[in-house]
Amino acid sequence: MIGTDSQTSGRGAEGIAVTNVGFDNPVLQSQAMYRVLLSAMSRPGHIVPCELLLEVPASLAQTTAAAALTLLDFDTPLWLDPAAAAQQALVDYLRFHCGCPIVEAHGHAAFAIITDPCKMPSLDAFPEGSDEYPDKSATLLIQVERLDDSRGVVLRGPGIENKQTIQGKGLPGGFWQQVQENHARFPKGVDIVLCAEDRIAALPRTTQVEV
């Protein structure tokens, strides 16, 4: 089991130094984190708290790390935004614990981790799938400083009974406009998970935004 003893904190398979461990119990913790993600994706904009005690590289949020450990493997090309890609410890951590290929071009990504949303490419720059295969689209893990669902923009769509409000601190101007445009491309489009330090919320492509 990766990450349970100190041996794995030494040098990894590729000779990279990995100083942070992954899940203590990969089977049950990834299951618990997955239910958090599933709950968020089925109720867009609804904040799902998750208590995590992970030791993660600097500038990677606990929730982002846990989502990566839960969903990524050799089948999922990952794109890191320049702020994340510049941090070798973060790159080594994901490469070692997830074993995912890290791609240079965001157009080839199945998943993307965005640690500095203000400088992120526009949502339509990521793979959106095709009309025949809309599932071949990217899932974006966007780190935000804070999430609050008591106010903010109004969301509607599948998974939302009437309406849902949400506000994320640290998102770029025009972000919600882009989310609405992402919805307009349905069934194509990207799906977004907003990751704050101890809570997440999701914005699948079905979600409409009243900007």
Binding site: P26, V27, L28, S30, Q31, A32, Y34, R35, L37, L38, M41, S42, R43, T70, L71, L72, D73, D75, T76, S130, D131, E132, Y133, P134, D135, S137, T139, P158, G159, I160, E161, F186, P187, D191, P204, R205, T206
Partner: protein
């Protein structure tokens, strides 16, 4: 694919392990049977399915220790979401005590040591073969359907490349022609199960062969609905509170089945009834298909 014709090779062994085995999951298997990479692949597919309601996401379905037709798709979906804190209910045509339901329940007791129940409201995950419980489900529950043929257009157009294009273009005229032919031949829409629905005003979806009696329950259901087709390697989903409309015509609106009889065991008048032959001289009785609902109603009456 009748219940009586099904046999599960793993069942007898699993039963010997006992139902209330609280010593933890069988150490010879990973938790909930599937390996972790398979779970991740299925988990990713489920997330995309939830994000694109009604669209069939292809996934690399694994061989399971039970034959196709036994719910291998539903079992893989359940195995990928199930945790030690879940309470699992499994029904086969509404009943908790039929062969398929019992063996799948035993499978998860053995491989995940999960708590099981027959009571609809106590379950956090309900795996079903072709019925939706009579008791309304809540936001905290997940309903997992076992699906034999996920493609509603398959019997109208055998080529996957074509049906995929039809879904992409929203070209669903053929399905309306099929329902119209029902009316031309029988005077009414004679489709009684696997009645096609439109999800979120976009994709036409097969609700698995549930009786059309259950279709209205899917509309804006508070629970998440997941569908797994093992042999056909597809997963699809309906998020909570999502519009699900059964296809119909203005002059032939969608209707659910009605019975003149009421349940002979509990007296319910608004449930889905099974006709049970009681002897070889034409004797028969009508009873609730949802065994939990029927039992509880009788207990309450006593």
């Amino acid at each position: 694919m009748t219940q009586s014709a099904q046999k599960n090779p793993a069942q007898s062994e699993a039963v010997e392990h006992g139902h209330a085995d609280k010593i933890g999951p069988d150490p010879n298997y990973n938790f909930a049977y599937l390996d972790e990479q398979t779970k991740r692949m299925i988990r990713r597919a489920i997330l995309k399915a939830v994000a694109i309601p009604g669209y069939q996401v292809p996934f690399a379905s694994r061989e399971m220790p039970m034959p196709y037709g036994w719910g291998t798709g539903g079992v893989q979906v359940t195995a990928s979401i199930l945790g030690p804190d879940d309470v699992l209910k499994v029904i086969d045509q509404g009943a908790d005590d039929t062969t398929n339901a019992v063996s799948i329940r035993q499978f998860f007791v053995r491989t995940a040591a999960v708590e099981t129940t027959e009571h609809t409201e106590e379950a956090s995950i309900i795996q079903t073969r072709h019925r939706i419980p009579e008791k309304p489900l809540s936001e905290d529950q997940i309903l997992v359907y076992q699906v034999p043929i996920p493609e509603p257009l398959r019997f109208l157009e055998p080529r996957e490349s074509e049906t995929r294009k039809m879904h992409a273009l929203g070209e669903y005229g053929l399905m309306h022609v099929k329902l119209y032919e029902d009316i031309a031949t029988h005077g009414h829409i004679a489709t009684t199960y696997a009645y096609p629905v439109k999800v979120n005003s976009h994709y036409i979806m097969d609700p698995s062969p549930t009786p059309k009696f259950d279709n209205p329950k899917m509309h804006r259901m508070p629970a998440l609905q997941l569908f797994g087709a093992g042999r056909e390697k597809r997963i699809y989903a309906i998020p909570p509170h999502t519009a699900v409309y059964s296809l119909d015509f203005e002059d032939h609106p969608f209707e659910i089945q009605q019975w003149e009889q009421s349940c002979e065991l509990c007296g319910a008048e608004n449930t889905f009834l099974d006709e049970v032959v009681t002897d070889d001289r034409g004797g028969r009785m009508f009873v609730c298909s949802d065994s939990d609902h029927c039992n509880r109603k009788r207990e309450a009456a006593e």
